[in-house]
């Protein structure tokens, strides 16, 4: 197996709590994953699951939050944790690019979108001003902005939400990044526009050969796009697998619950939706053992010790359930939630 493009090992991220008595709060706890070149990795979780913090710390974007980041992040064989801000800046935007939920946070309102793409190109490449402009117009066309030469001079406020997100993606792609990190890229968009942006991200792989890390709470978005999926809960990866394995034979009770709580769009309508009882735990009140145990319909005494995610195997879950127990447990989880 060739060395993965991005290799994250035992990543732990802690923040100082609001109360001194809490000490450090661990937002990400022992996350490991690999990203191969040209692959789309989906990272799924609810709010507070640590999915965004994981990727922000990989990118060195936690800034002055006082976060303590431990573990190892190797990109193309080079350790990223501990690099100086200046060195990191060269990696970000060049080899690793980002797209966030709200395109307005990535665009400055006082310059035209063309100017902003040119700036990025000039910072990371040695293109001349004229060549950078030509490339920027090319990129705007590639992401499907109609009449790209005219769009070059437009300001962010003159574009719709979907068009802005396209402009941000054009900017992210400007330096042919090896990895594109997209954090909830379509959450703020309407469903018709979301479909267009997802199609665009799908096309990137063939057109630009970029690997994509897609962070989202929406399992539907992941199913259509990702090759592999990580499911995160309370700062830990609870299940890892190929998209097909995960959606067709999920192993973790939390994944069952998540999949069960999506109302179907076709076929029989359940009288009640299977749901997971309770709410995700707060970081300062994490249960000692399996973090999901308090909400799990099939938890037992074994769950008092934290289950580890097996390091080996394409499809694995951090759960004590033996493979032969899963079918019955799944049945109970999807019914148990109904009365909750």
């Amino acid at each position: 197996m060739p060395e993965p493009l991005l290799q994250v090992r035992d990543l732990r991220v802690s923040f100082p709590g609001a109360n001194a008595e809490h000490g450090l709060l661990r937002a990400v706890d022992g996350v490991s994953f690999d990203l191969a070149a040209g692959e789309v990795l989906g990272v799924v979780g609810e709010s507070g699951s640590g999915k965004s913090v994981t990727l922000l710390s990989v990118l060195g974007l936690l800034g002055h939050s006082g976060a303590v980041v431990e573990g190892s992040v190797r990109f193309k064989g080079r350790e990223l944790l501990g690099l100086s801000p200046r060195e990191l800046q060269r990696v970000r935007g060049g080899d690793i690019a980002m797209v966030f939920q709200d395109p307005m946070t990535a665009l400055t309102p006082v310059y035209s979108i063309g100017w902003q793409i040119v700036e990025q190109l000039r910072a990371h490449t040695d293109l001349s001003r004229a060549a950078a402009k030509a490339r920027a117009i090319e990129l705007l066309a590639a992401v499907g902005l109609p009449n790209p030469a005219a769009q070059f001079d437009r300001y962010p406020h003159q574009l719709s939400g979907g068009m802005r997100q396209r402009a941000v993606i054009a900017m992210a792609l400007s330096c042919n990044p090896a990895v594109l990190v997209a954090d909830e890229p379509t959450t703020a968009l309407d469903v018709s526009v979301q479909a267009q942006i997802l199609e665009l991200i799908h096309r990137l792989r063939s057109d630009f050969g970029s690997a994509v890390v897609l962070i989202t709470h929406d399992l539907g978005v992941v199913a259509g796009l990702a090759d592999r999926v990580l499911v995160m809960y309370a700062g830990r990866v609870v299940e890892r697998g190929s998209a097909r394995a995960l959606f067709e034979a999920a192993q973790h009770p939390y994944t069952w619950g998540l999949l069960g709580s999506i109302p179907p769009l076709a076929g029989p309508r359940p009288r009640r939706l299977p749901s997971i009882a309770g709410a995700p735990p707060a970081l300062d009140a994490l249960p000692a053992g399996c973090a999901f145990a308090p909400r799990c319909a099939v938890a037992d005494a074994r769950c008092a010790t934290r289950p580890a995610l097996p390091a080996q195997g394409a499809h694995a879950a951090a759960c004590v359930l033996a493979p032969e127990q899963r079918a019955a447990a799944r049945e109970r989880c999807l019914q148990g939630g109904v009365t909750a």
Binding site: E46, S47, S192, L219, F247, G267, R272, P274
Partner: protein, 345 residues
């Protein structure tokens, strides 16, 4: 995987014998934007443009559409948070289109609203018990002891523990705050609840709990819901009938099962097709074409003719010039399209 047969969604109350609880007739809401001195001068936005529907007791009408289609404006007009520009609004047999504050006051308890962000509507300095009691203090003559027992009852109804009533809103998760918002809306035994995106701010696992709660409450208390959401699968789960809005108008309305399994308006079909499903496509299967290109047009400058024609794959010259009216197409369905997609019936 084999395709399951058509969804056995219970059909709505068949040909109602009772009068509608809410009748919306040709309702319009215009806003004026800009100023006399601005470039372009003062212009009028038709946020809601001639919308009509009836809401029968005990049913849930789901209202879907993309942002800017006027669904929230419509909701606010229905509960009279906004003044209506034109048309009529009948609630429980009374014309409330222009009813004043005093005339509305006895109706307010029966007509409640649940908002997307419950935190925004909960006073952070009040305990949850007091917040739930507030409508009782304003609208009823219950004494403190009676109020207390009603609050405990309401808390139980929405799944809050009695000991949680002493806490403050910030101590609750998003799902629990929405339960508090629902308890407040239920306090006065309303007939109609207008819920504007009540679950869209919640995490997936919590969203299902609140959807189930709303369904339980409807069954136990005989509530009628106008349920507004942008999430098509949520609307399918909760509604007996579904209305689809586009740029201020209803383009299709009908029994939920029929609208979802056989959409008649091209916009409805495209909207349903655009929802990402939690199913991995078969290996090597071609990716489905993106059904809707472009953005919804600005309501400031709606296209002539059918407002959907610039994005419609089936648009003809007729669509570009003549606006289709919402016509009865049988089976309790109405469609505003010159060329509806599937034969209904």
């Amino acid at each position: 995987m084999t395709q399951p047969p058509d969804p056995p969604i219970p059909s709505p109350v068949t040909l109602p014998t009772q009068p509608p609880l809410l009748a919306v007739k040709n309702l319009s809401k215009h806003y004026t934007v800009g100023s006399t001195f601005a470039r372009g001068g003062r212009r009028s936005v038709q946020a809601v443009d001639g919308v009509s529907f009836d809401l029968w007791p005990g049913e849930t009408l789901g209202l879907v559409g993309e942002s800017g289609c006027g669904k929230s404006t419509l909701a606010r007009c229905v509960v009279r948070l906004h003044e209506v520009s034109a048309g009529q609004l009948w609630f429980d047999g009374q014309d409330i289109t222009h009813a004043g504050r005093a005339a509305l006051r006895p109706l307010r308890p029966q007509l409640q609203m649940v908002f997307q962000d419950p935190y925004a509507s909960l006073n952070p300095r009040r305990r949850v018990g007091e917040l739930i009691a507030e409508p009782l203090r304003v609208h009823t003559r219950l004494n403190a002891v009676e109020r207390q027992s009603r609050v405990t009852e309401l808390a139980g109804l929405v799944g809050l523990r009695a000991d949680q009533l002493q806490r403050f809103p910030h101590e609750f998760s998003g799902g629990q705050r929405q339960r508090i918002g629902i308890a407040r809306a239920l306090a006065l035994n309303p007939k109609l609840i207008v819920a504007d995106e009540p679950v869209s701010a919640l995490d997936v696992s919590v969203q299902a709990q609140v959807i189930n709660l709303l369904a339980d409450l409807q069954e136990r208390l005989g509530l009628t819901y106008l349920f507004i959401a942008h999430d098509l699968s949520v609307v399918r789960q909760v509604s007996t009938r579904t209305a689809v809005m586009y740029l201020g108008r209803i383009v299709e309305i009908g029994p939920t099962a029929a609208v979802y399994s056989q959409p008649a308006h091209p916009y409805t079909a495209a909207l349903i097709a655009a929802v990402p499903r939690p199913v991995v496509p078969a290996a090597g299967a071609p990716r489905p074409a993106v059904a809707l290109q472009g953005d919804p047009p600005s309501p400031l400058d709606p296209p002539p003719g059918c407002r959907f024609h610039p994005r419609c794959p089936a648009a003809t010259a007729l669509c570009r010039s003549v606006s289709p009216t919402l016509r009865d197409s049988g089976g309790g369905r109405k469609v505003a399209c010159h060329h509806p997609w599937s034969a209904v019936g």
